[in-house]
Amino acid sequence: MEKEELFRQIADAVVEMEEDTVEELAQQSLEDGIDAYETIDSGLAKGMERAGQLFDEEEYFVPELLMCSDAMNVGIDVLKPHLKSENVSKKGKVVIGVVEGDTHDIGKNLVRLMMETGGFEVLDLGRDIPPAEFVSKAEEYGADIIGIATLMTTTMPGMKEVVDILADKGIRDKFKVIVGGGPISPAFAKKIGADGYARNAADAVKVAEKLLSNTDLALGA
């Protein structure tokens, strides 16, 4: 099979949530001597990107998006042992979590998923996370980006606290801060001094890429 055709079929199988097909095709790519990184990037990740678009268009919903992600991971498990180490360099490191007092984490988990698919290394702090912990974990992990989520108006001030703690410690410039979740607006992000905002998981990846590629604010995205 043509390489491009194989990639297309792999992407389709991810979109169709067909784990077995993904596994077979990933095996075949190895037998055909195709570079594992290329298969991940042009096959699996492409499929996941399309799944993200379908989610954005309300063709797919949370269960479907998660199934696509599982199918992608089956493929990655097959291919990972064959990655050449020079390929594994990542786009950047992200710590992400939901602010203290809030346990709504479905949206944050989707953002993590799309970030990972998009080539970021992600440390997921979980939910109900005190502001100081975002900062200490980001320092420990050597993060480039701190992602903060909340779905409740009552917990929004926790986001500002994270930014304030960074400023107080004199390390604000070491990290890009992006925020998101139901009640968050670009205006709010700007007001608390965050660097970026995204309305959904697919955009979050774009905003993160933009922030790391140049220093312009990504609040308009």
């Binding site: 919903f61 199934m67 346990t103 917990t155």
Partner: protein, 340 residues
Amino acid sequence: MDVLSPKERLLRSLKGEAVERAPVICPGGMMNSAIVDVMKNHGNVLPDGHRDSKIMADLALDVQADTGFENVGIPFCMTVEAEALGSDIDFGTLKCEPKIAKEIFPSVKDVIYKEDDALVKSDRAGTVFQAIYNAAGHSPDIPVIGSITGPLSTAASVVDPMNFLKELRKVKDESHRFVDYVTNQLIGYAQHMVDNGASVISIADPTATGEILGPKMFGDYAVVYINKLVDAIHEMGVPVIVHICGRMQAVTQHIANLHADAISVDALVSLKKLKEEYPHLTTMGNLSTFLLEFGETPNIQRSTEQLIQDEINILAPACGLSTSTPLQNIQTFTGVAKAV
């Protein structure tokens, strides 16, 4: 002039019978109305009230008296059900509602099934039943609404939500078995609420929104199990309110299939349009939660008047209240509603 008692008015509204004006209520549970202002006024506070039936009943009565809502709503959170089925709870603070600290099972395949009366026999449920009993005895003209976390939200508070949502598609048989088990627990819970004096049951199932589940899973699971629960409560002779969160386009076609006596919706949904589309629906809602927290008095007045003009059958906050909502804003809402 009011002719009917608040209880008669609500029960008649839920039956679709004529009333002199729409009732204005807030059911409790997800739509908790125990705001900080009321707790500070009277000293009956959360989180203590989540585990103490006297505080729970007194606080519910304080809320009713201060806000002007025409019901008592019990309990004040969505964690009673999940705790009884094994999950760890963090009771939160005065300002912040309790939350699930950790769902006990990673997957529907790991669930350890308890006896069908595990929820009913739990300490937390006992507190709720006693509080309902106390509140119902206190003022017979005010309806006590027993609030229940819906089958899917309870299920996704017992099994890790990310796995759960996926397994609805992936591991169908086990998912159905599990959600059915949860539903049976909830039926017992509702029965005891009714036996202790609840005159209406309200079910809120935020995880079962169209935005999260999509139309297929909403039809296959949410409609099936919410209806099973509603049918069982109807057999107890009690009406049921069902609240659906979020934008609804994805699932509007299913709404008419719910057996509820009233459908309560989020602020984003036009109840007027919904009424036009399904004239037989008894509608409830939907003054924006955000407006109630941050809005100016004239805006709250105007939005309330709009709901009345649109002939919404039962007036209520769209999706509950933030605990920081100013009492005065709620009083504006209930005041305008009652002035009709």
